[in-house]
Structure formats: structure tokens, C-alpha cells
Symmetry: C2
Subunit: 405 residues, 2 copies
């Protein structure tokens, strides 16, 4: 199940970025499970990673390598997360980088590794290494779709977003892919996401842009509240266009960032729409709080409540569960009698109780849609936040009771 | 579904406590939905209530009345929570108390109201008031079972616990009932629980005992992480036995408290065993943390993870999901490489990775049981905590997608 039509967007390839895939048979049979991304020389890269204390071996290695050099290759496998695998896991990771660095004649530090799949099983390095020549052989700038497919696990759809922007008379492009459908409650970064541009962006600016855009997108979604051990989001710039972005204060940066945030948000929303067992795509907006933290706390309390999520699944406008979640979000001095709640533009709660004009039919007509908003007005400040989430369905239970992720 | 056999315990009636039930037809047909508890004169009472900011009208009224007088009657209805009902809800509550106070010739402040059921609908006061004479007419010290049944909502079993203790040559009894199966993640008190003793206990000591025992029982369970708007736990002492407990420092208090905690914990565990759709009763113990807060934070992260809960339902010892939950519990400076995890006495994780001797079969044999423990050793301090929880099953989704609670 997934929300809305699966639409593959128009993709603007990025000069300086080539993608190659291969079948390593790590866990899945008869499908691509290895992705290689090649970056042109002098490209810059930035990334944000999972905050999970049990971060996977490839996450530690990618972090360290990114600090010491500009990457030329990213090697990604699906089917095995190489997480909670200790020293053996780190060795498996380094062996893969060594093989690639020898074949391509580049330092190991210029390769970044990523893994997604089952936690706690050792990575079959020899299978991964054996598949690298195949991936190298089919590197191409046009391979975005098969690249997006190769990193899928419980995803039912490949995810991509792409934008063009004209800056100082030159057209630049931003294109990205992502994967993720479960264990989704990113904290500073999410699942796997790779976004590239052909503009020239300094590493400092790129890091700032990557962190800001991830915060406005991947850090605003939740499917099941579980933060993965492998979340990684990488932003790359090849500098193939004569557009130089060296300061976050410039007009160019603002235009570039605006398009970048659209790409990030599109990818993040595609992840929610493809949430495990998802039948609803719900925006939760909390308005007029004292600060952003309390707005987010309430939004996540609603989004994580199994009772709210099952009511979403049932298309039952059970607003009592929404106010109960607001009430236990542990907000200092919250005055329940000031709170209004809307389902799209239907007011259901006014001053903490059922709104005078509310009818079950009106609530029902909103909840029957596949996409809608729950809007909470706290009337105690001027800050707002919004997040995106899904329902909790029988299919979610089936997927996670049957799939060893 | 529920875990284990439904066992109705031996009940020691409490002299000075009478229980009466009635059919008001508030929401349920052909079953008792009103409970009246009558306390002998000079009884003392204490209580802890929900911390939900949207606390229900009866909770506000009960809190205020308990402060101003010793209660003689508790009136409880199931089927309607009288929560988020504003001024009308408070008026409905007070009308009920007024009717009872006039019939019995006692001040209104000596009546405590409680409600459980659907949130956001107005309480049909006239039905409740009309049923009071029936409840008064069948008041009896032996009615604990029909009392426990009358307060059930999505519960599949009545819940009770009872203990006798010999203090200074005199035998006292402690007997309690509780209800609750969903919207269970108490915070300072839970659902509805009524516990009485025939000892004489001063109000101050009773409040201390009630808060301590609730903290060691109802505040250590979670089914779905949702804290209800109506949680209330009342402890009553009739003083019919010549045992006086006036200080928390006395030997009598320690013995009394020990039995009391057993009654509270038995009721709390019965609630978890009867959790909506529950097929597993799981104890989560976190050992050797720096402080109790971090132990509880990790325990609840595991207990609330939908991925862990669906793995419990599937009897799949998917320990990767357990360590992922530990990792995102947001514990300052947590060193994943020091952590051990056990399933009962089977070590599954050693120093943050799969234990050398662990086999899937060993893990499977534990997870196949209906009751087991997940034990996490942090190796960074000397504090421990444990909580009790359930799995997330298809039946949970069905119950909450179909039942308007």
C-alpha cells in the first residue's frame, strides 16, 4: 500500500555524476542491490548522519572519510545494514573500499560506504566486491531510476526529485534519490538520500545547505518513530556549471537553497507516502506555540500515538484521541481550554471542547481523503511547526511481523 | 486476546466498604455500567490522577472534593469519559453528585466522581442519576467481582487483587480492582483503580503509600504509550481493624506497604496481560545505568517501538530492532560497544554486537513463550528499572480501528 499515484518525475541529469548498479545477491535475488555513484574530480560533498548510538560501521567510516578528503565514489548496498557487527563489520567495510580504491587508482579515503537492510548480520564482503566491476562497467549519467530502485528495501516505489534553477543566466540542476519506508523517524538525517547539483558550491556552504534542508524535510517526517542505525543523507556538487556559491549570505545561495529544499521535501514526502502499510498521508501542523520545541513535541505526540494512527487507518475522525495526545505531550503550563483543532478547514475542537458547529459528517468527509491536515492552534505564542506522517494499518503489522528488517 | 489464563483471585472483603452496581444504559446495553462504592464514616482516602493536560471533568471535581473532605461515596460510570466536555461536562458531573448527596443526606464534597469511555461526548446525566437508586439498593461488601466487571470498557477480564497481612496480632486486608486495556501509558496514576484496606491509616500516610505504590506499578506499564485523560487511582482505609498506621517510618507501615505494593503490581500486570490485542506479556529490565531516568528512557524506547512490538507479535527474536531502539533513546554519551542484551537468560548481544554463542534457535525458543524478559545491561552505573508491556498485533489495530474509544 502507498498513498497516491507513483509518479516518476522528470529527471535533470547532473554533469559530473555517474551511476552504476549491479546484482551482488547479498540478500535479494535477481535484482540490483549495489549502487556506485562516481563524482567528477574537484566535486565537493557534505552529509548528515543518523544520531543513533548504535550507528553502523559504514556510517562511522563515511563520516571519517568525508572529513579527510573529497569523495570520488559512493558505494551503497541494500539487503544488509552492516550494523551491530563490531570489528568484523568495520573490516568488511574497509575491504570493500580497498577493492574499489585499487581498481580505480584513488585513495581509500575518497570512497564513502553506505548499507541498508538487516541489522546484526555480517556483510558478505566477497559478494559485494565481486559485483563492483559490473557496477563500474555500467556507470552512466542517465541511470537515476535504476539507481533509485537498487537501494530499495521495503520500499514499494523508487523515489526521486529534480529541479532546474537559473542563476546569473546559467541553468543549474539539482537531482536526488532516496529510500526508506520503515524505521523512519530521522534525527538529523534519514535513511539513504543522495542529492547532487552541477553548481560549484564550497564545502562549508554545502554542509550548511545539507543540514538546513535535511532539517526542513527528513527531520520533519515520521512513520513509526523508529530511528534507523544507518540514516545518511549526502549532498554533492560537481561544479560543472559556472555558478559559484561560496557564501550563505548571497542571493545565489538563497535561490539555490530554495530549490534544494524543494528537492529534499519532495523526497521526504515520497518516503512518507510509501510508508510501510500507509493508506494516509497526513500533515500535522501545530501553530502559535511559545517555541518550536513545544510545537514539535505536540506534533510528534499526535503522529506517534497508536490510537491516533489506527483512527487514521479507520478513517474515523476520533478527535478525542488527538486531544488526549496533545494533553500528554508534557508541555509546561499548557491550558487545554485555549486549544483549537482543525481537520483541514473543519473546526472540531474550540477552546478545548467539541466545536459548536462540528458534525461527525464534516469530520468524516475530511478523514475519508487519502491526504489531509490536522491543525492544532495553541494560542499561546507565535511559533509554528509541521511534520508529515502516516497511519497504522494491518499491512504495517503484517510487513513488520513477516519481514526481518 | 489476552496473555495467560484469566484467574479470579481469592478476595478478602474490606469491612467498611460496600459496592453496588446498576445498568444505566449510558453506552452499553444489558450490562452494569455504574458502580457505587460506599465508605464507612471516618474512612480516609488518597488518590493519584492523570497528568494529561486535558483531564476530564470528573478528575477536576474529584481532586477538589478529596482536598476538602473525607469521601463517603465514589460514583463511577463506564462508556463515557466526560472528557473535553467543557462547562456542560462539569455541570453533568455536579448534578450527579447533587442527586447522590440529597438521597444520602451527605455533603456533595463527600462524593468523588469518575468516568471512563468515549472522549468528547456529553454525559447523559439523567440516565446516570436514574440508575443511582438501583446501585444504592444492592450495596454489599461481597460485590467485588461485579464491581470489577461494571467498570470494564475494552477489557476482556475483570481485574482484582487481594492480600492479608498480620500486623501486631491483628489481620488486615487490602483489596483492589482496576480497569484498563488501551490508552495505557500512565503518568502518576492509571486508568481506574480502587484499592481499600480495613486498617486505620492517616490521610498523609495514605497519600504517600498511594503515590509510592502507583509509581512502582501503574507507572511502570505501557501498552500503547497513550496516556488517558481520566486515569485515577484511589486508595481508601476504613479503620475497622485496630491497626493504626500514622507514620511512614514505622515497622507496621513497611509491612503494610509491602503487601500494598503487591496488590498494586498485580493489578498493573493484569492490565498489561489484558492489553488490547495482547499475545505477549514482556518485562523489560534495564540494568546498571547511571540513573533511573536513563534506565526508564531506554525501557520505554524499546516498549514503544512499533518494530519491536511487531517482532514480539511475530515471535521473531529480531534483536536488531531492540538495539536500534536503545540507540535512539537519546542517552547522553551512551557507549554502544559496552551494551549486553539478554532474552531471559539467553545472551543475544555482547559488547554491542551479536554474542558469540548466540543462535537463532535459542532466541526463538524464548520469543515463542507468552511471557519473557528483555534485559539490557548498560555497564555504566548501578541503577536499574523495569517495566511491563505487550506486543502490537493485528487485533490491536482491529480493536482501535473499529472501537470508538
Amino acid at each position: 500500500m502507498a498513498v497516491g499515484e507513483a509518479i516518476w518525475p522528470t529527471i535533470y541529469p547532473i554533469e559530473g555524476v555517474k551511476l552504476g548498479v549491479a546484482q551482488a545477491g547479498i540478500r535479494y535475488k535477481n535484482r540490483n542491490d549495489v549502487l556506485l555513484i562516481e563524482l567528477a574530480e574537484n566535486s565537493t560533498a557534505a552529509a548528515v548522519f543518523t544520531q543513533n548510538a548504535f550507528c553502523a560501521a559504514p556510517v562511522s567510516v563515511a563520516k571519517a572519510n568525508l572529513q579527510s578528503a573529497n569523495p570520488r565514489y559512493l558505494v551503497i548496498n541494500s539487503g544488509n545494514a552492516n550494523a551491530c557487527t563490531g570489528d568484523l563489520g568495520e573490516r568488511a567495510c574497509l575491504q570493500t573500499l580497498q577493492a574499489l580504491s585499487q581498481t580505480c587508482g584513488i585513495p581509500q579515503a575518497q570512497v564513502l560506504p553506505f548499507s541498508t537492510g538487516v541489522i546484526g548480520e555480517q556483510l558478505p564482503t566477497e559478494k559485494l566486491v565481486a559485483a563492483l566491476p559490473q557496477a563500474l562497467a555500467n556507470l552512466d549519467t542517465e541511470n537515476w531510476r535504476i539507481a533509485a530502485e537498487s537501494i530499495m528495501t521495503t520500499d514499494t516505489r523508487p523515489k526521486a526529485a529534480s529541479r532546474q534553477v537559473k542563476l546569473n543566466g546559467e541553468t543549474i540542476a539539482i537531482t536526488g534519490i532516496a529510500k526508506g519506508a520503515g524505521m523512519i523517524r530521522p534525527n538529523m538525517a534519514t535513511m539513504l538520500a543522495y542529492i547532487a547539483t552541477d553548481a560549484s558550491v564550497s564545502k562549508t556552504v554545502l554542509q550548511h545547505a545539507c543540514a538546513s534542508a535535511a532539517n526542513a524535510s527528513f527531520n520533519r517526517i515520521t512513520i513509526d518513530g523508529d530511528t534507523s542505525t544507518n540514516d545518511s543523507c549526502v549532498l554533492m556538487a560537481t561544479g560543472k556549471r559556472q555558478v559559484h556559491i561560496d557564501s550563505t549570505e548571497s542571493a545565489e545561495y538563497r535561490e539555490f537553497y530554495s530549490a534544494l529544499e524543494q528537492v529534499f521535501q519532495s523526497l521526504a514526502q515520497q518516503i512518507v507516502r510509501d510508508g510501510e502499510g500507509a493508506s494516509k498521508f497526513v500533515t500535522i501542523e501545530v501553530k502559535n506555540g511559545r517555541n518550536k520545541e513545544e510545537c514539535l513535541k505536540i506534533a510528534y505526540a499526535i503522529a506517534h500515538s497508536p490510537l491516533v494512527k489506527t483512527a487514521l487507518f479507520a478513517s474515523d475522525p476520533n478527535w478525542g484521541r488527538i486531544v488526549a495526545a496533545i494533553g500528554y505531550a508534557d508541555i509546561d503550563g499548557l491550558d487545554a481550554s485555549k486549544i483549537d483543532v482543525y481537520l483541514d478547514d473543519v473546526q472540531v475542537v474550540e477552546n478545548g471542547q467539541r466545536a459548536a458547529g462540528y458534525t461527525e459528517e464534516a469530520g468524516q468527509s475530511v478523514f475519508s481523503n487519502a491526504e489531509f491536515s490536522i491543525i492544532v492552534d495553541l494560542h499561546r505564542g507565535s511559533e509554528s511547526e509541521l511534520i508529515w506522517t502516516t497511519d497504522l494499518s494491518h499491512e504495517y503489522v503484517t510487513i513488520n511481523a513477516e519481514y526481518r528488517s
